[in-house]
Symmetry: C2
């Protein structure tokens, strides 16, 4: 069911410093800062040859990553995203197996403009998993 | 400098259950359990179309992931591994920039039989990064 690893998302306390670290120290292909007000984050995409890293920083009130950064002030890996072909079929299969989809269980449009869902970390070895339909 | 994302490593408290979750619930290509006594872990490799997930479980006394699982009893993402062409050149560049390489600073032979290094999470946005020479 799951396909490619679409991205690894890392929450960071200082987006400019983290982007410079990946660009200058690690020598990666680092894009510009992009505000995603609908998702409460500012994002920097890092393009690797086979996948992406997304640096996330809170934007506005009630950002979904604000609590994570309070618990992890140095930053840390926030979630990983797997691609699926049919997100409603994936959600049905997962809920039938007893796994929990976060929120209403309905896909939302994610930061890439595609339908996404998040799965409960307690049902997936402590890992927050995003599924994205591609 | 960094190339492909070689793998995402997830420490899990129950390797058999985690492998079944990825095989049966997430429908991924899951390999057999492999003991790596030199590295203090038992590993299950999950092959995605563009990268790998490695499920890690402690093996023997003093496993390097035992403390992580004590702090994160449900499991969690332990590290991410980027590929580099020349690991000694990478280490020299990183230390010149003030970043810390863990241990002696010398590459060791990792679980895939290739030279690896680990970088200090405090210098890399709270993320434990492994570099592997390919």
């Amino acid at each position: 069911m799951i396909g490619r690893l679409n991205h690894v998302a890392i929450a960071v306390p200082d987006l400019t410093a983290a982007a410079a670290l990946y660009r200058d120290t690690l020598g990666a292909d680092v894009g510009p800062e992009q505000d995603e007000p609908d998702h409460g984050v500012t994002v920097v995409f890092i393009t690797l040859p086979n996948t992406k890293i997304e640096l996330l920083h809170p934007l506005g009130e009630g950002s979904p990553i604000a609590g994570f950064l309070e618990k992890n002030p140095s930053g840390g890996i926030h979630h990983i995203c797997y691609e699926v072909e049919d997100i409603r079929a994936a959600a049905a299969r997962l809920t039938a197996s007893g796994a929990r989809v976060l929120g209403t269980g309905e896909p939302k449009i994610g930061a890439h403009g595609k339908p996404v869902l998040f799965l409960h970390p307690k049902d997936f070895t402590g890992t927050l998993i995003e599924l994205e339909e591609v």
